[in-house]
Structures are given as C-alpha cells and as structure tokens.
C-alpha cells in the first residue's frame, strides 16, 4: 500500500483504468481522477486494458506461431510439447461438443482459452508492483488485469454473440432463426411469450459470459487489494493461499469461457 493514501483512495486507485478520452472541460486527455473518467463517458478508451490485452494476445500469437513454424513431426521439445498439449486439449473439447465442420471454431476456442488465461494470469502479479511503478514514472492509473475490465470481457462476448446470430441465420435462414425464436417452446399460439423467452435467453448468453469472467476476476483482484491493505508481514498468510486458489480460478474461468463459446456456437449450428 502506497504511503499517503487512505484505504479507500488506495482501493479506488487500483480499480481505476488509465483512460484517454474527450473530457467536457479538458478536451482529449488522460483522465487524472475517477470523476474525470465518468465525465468522459463513451468517448474514451481504457489504454491500460488495451495495451495489456493486445500485448498478451500478441504474445500468444507470437509464441504459438513460432512453435508452429518449427513444429517437427519427430520427438517434440519442451515448449512444443506444452503447446501441443494445449492444442490437443482444445481440439478434444471442440470435437466433443461441436459436431459440424468449421474452420473457425477450433482456432477461436484456442484463442479464447489462451488469451483469457493470459489476461487472468496478470492477476497473480503482485497488485502493487506495476501500478506503483506507473505512478512513480508519472502514469496516474494502471490496471494490469484486462479481464477485470468489463469492456474487455464484453468485447469478446459480443463478438461471440454476433457469431451466434450469424451462424444461426447462415445455418437455418432468416425464417428458420425467427421460427426458432418465436415458435418454441410453447407452439405458435403463445408467440409473444415464446419470443420474449427466447430473445432474453439469446441476449443472456453474451451477457452472462462476460459478467461471469469479469465478476470472478474483479472479485479476485479485489481480494488481493484488500489483502494488500494488511501490514506487510501478515500479507503472505492470506495472499499465498489465495494466489494458489486463484491459479485454479483463472484456469477454470478461461476454460468455462471457451466451453460456453463452443456450446453456444454448436447450438447456433444445430436445428431444433
């Protein structure tokens, strides 16, 4: 915990993104306080979320494509072995849940799994290191866990939502998709009720996907921040067990996000 801050200031600091946007008074600038972030509204961007998430995504693509380029069919080395393990794990998951032909689903599932995992993994970096370093070099805020930013999780889940709608229409036609939304579960005489039920169900998919990941990561980060408020000599008593437990959570959340994406897209392909 940085000196000269109250606990609530400290927590608020750790939960505020580095935001660049159009402030009504200051114009295009970095927000210097939580209030300025709120004032900027939609015309702003969370620079830290973008930099960290794109950086981690680029790391994923770099690592995997480097291994892919040198992949041998002989005895694989350490890194290749590990990467192949992930690939096979994702491939098995996709094959067991998605029974149509698609060149998109499996690579997308891999991207989601690894990318979300890497973003979650940032949660295990001690909460003060990078934000404090940023303050020292003059950057007001720095949230290093992109998946604790609802924009990030929503961005992925909305993309998936568009894919769900796209594939539903592609596989069943506009009419088929509409019929699916309106003629079940109760038949054509309860059309408005069916429509309400199905549309809510459809929209709930991306929302729940995004909120589940965001909620888990935000809560985990919050607990690390609260542990960081303890005296330094007592922190390890709580932070070590929580970090160990969190390893499970971040992996599980990445896996759940991937599996639900596959399931939703499989449902979009299936005819009911």
């Amino acid at each position: 915990m940085a000196s000269g801050m109250t606990s609530s200031e400290y927590i608020a600091h750790h939960l505020t993104n580095l935001t660049y946007g159009k402030h009504p008074v200051n114009g295009w600038s970095f927000a210097q306080s939580g209030q300025e972030v709120v004032d900027m509204g939609f015309m702003s961007i969370n620079v830290d979320s973008m930099v960290w998430s794109v950086g981690l995504g680029a790391f994923f693509i770099w690592l995997f494509s480097r291994v892919a380029k040198t992949a041998t069919t002989g005895v694989p080395g350490g890194v290749q072995n590990f990467i192949e393990m992930i690939i096979e794990f994702v491939d098995d998951s996709v094959k067991s849940m998605f029974h149509h032909k698609s060149a998109l689903i499996a690579p997308m599932a891999l991207t989601i799994f690894v990318w979300v995992f890497l973003m979650n993994l940032m949660d295990l970096v001690p909460v003060d290191w990078i934000p404090h370093l940023a303050v020292v070099v003059g950057i007001p805020f720095m949230k290093i866990v992109p998946s604790t930013d609802l924009n990030v999780t929503m961005g992925i889940s909305f993309s998936i939502f568009f894919l769900i709608v796209f594939y539903s229409i592609k596989q069943k036609g506009i009419g088929g998709f509409m019929a699916e939304l309106s003629l079940q579960p109760l038949g054509k005489w309860a059309l408005p009720f069916n429509l309400l039920l199905e549309v809510v169900g459809l929209i709930a998919k991306p929302i729940s996907l995004a909120l589940r990941l965001f909620g888990n990561m935000y809560a985990g980060e919050m607990i690390f921040i609260l542990i960081a408020l303890l005296p330094f000599w007592a922190q390890w008593l709580l932070s070590v067990p929580w970090a160990l437990f969190h390893i499970l959570i971040i992996t599980l959340q990445a896996f759940i996000f991937m599996v639900l994406t596959i399931v939703y897209l499989a449902m979009a392909h299936d005819h009911h």
């Binding site: 998430s53 994923f60 693509i61 499996a106 929503m154």
Partner: protein
C-alpha cells in the same frame, strides 16, 4: 465501471487474434500433430510386422533345426551300420585268410609227410636189398629183383 470505446477496440483485437490464430497457429500445429499420429501408427504397424516376421523366422529356424537333427540321426545310424558292416567284413576276410593259411599249412605238412615217406621207402628198399643179400649170401641183382623189392617197399 464505465462502458466506453474499449469494447470496440477489444472486438477488433479479438477478431484480429482469431484471424491470426486461424492463419498461422492452428493449421500448422494440427497438421504436425496429424503427421506425427500417422508416423506413430506406421511405426506401430512396422513393429507388429517385425514381430510377426520374427515369429515366422523363429518357426522356420525351429523347423530347420528339427530337420537337421533328423538328418544327423539318420547319418549317425548309417555310419553305425556301415561301421559294423566293415567290422563284419573284416572279420570274414580275416577268417577266410586264416582258413586259407591253415589249409596251405596242412597241404605243406601233407607234402612233407609224403616226401618223407618216399625217402623212407627208398631207404627201406635199399635196406631190404642189403638185408636180403646178407641173408642169402649172395648178391642179388638189383636190377633183376627191382620189381620184387619195390613191391615189398610199397607194402611197408
């Protein structure tokens, strides 16, 4: 928690990463995995085949061994038979030789006896003549009484 343009930025980044993954990560890695799977399957097949061939080879070795053993047994038996035959033949030859030598010896003895008899007879004839001369007091003309003396000698 503010919703802002980050959401659009994330959607764009997500699309780009998925595209890159589809293009540069997934196909080469799954191809490598499939290739290795094929290789391993081929290797296992080859191992199976080799094991089968080994079993076959062992079987034929066994058969060849059995056959050569049988042949060896036949050869040994033949050799034994031949050996006893040779011994028998040798025995027969020796027996024959012994018989022949015995017969020759017997003939020699016979001859010797005859010769001795002849000599004795001749001497007896002379002695008889000499004895008769002494008894008769007169010489006997050997030539005149030769037939008589010889008759006498033959009766001895």
């Amino acid at each position: 928690m503010n919703m802002n343009m980050t959401i659009l930025g994330q959607m764009i980044s997500f699309a780009i990463f998925v595209y890159l993954c589809m293009k540069f990560v997934w196909p080469p890695l799954t191809a490598a995995l499939a290739e290795r799977q094929k290789k391993i399957a081929e290797g296992l097949d080859a191992a199976d085949k080799a094991a089968r061939e080994l079993a076959d080879a062992q079987q034929s070795v066994e058969a060849a061994l059995q056959e050569s053993k049988a042949q060896a047994a036949v050869l040994i038996e033949q050799a034994n038979k031949r050996a006893s035959q040779i011994v028998d033949e040798a025995k027969e030859t020796a027996q024959a030789e012994a018989d022949r030598i015995k017969a020759a010896a017997a003939a020699d003895v016979e001859q010797e006896i005859n010769r001795a008899k002849e000599a004795l007879r001749a001497q007896v004839a002379t002695l008889v003549v000499a004895g008769a001369e002494k008894i008769l007091g007169a010489s006997i003309d050997v030539n005149n009484h030769k037939a008589l003396v010889n008759k006498l000698a033959a009766e001895l």
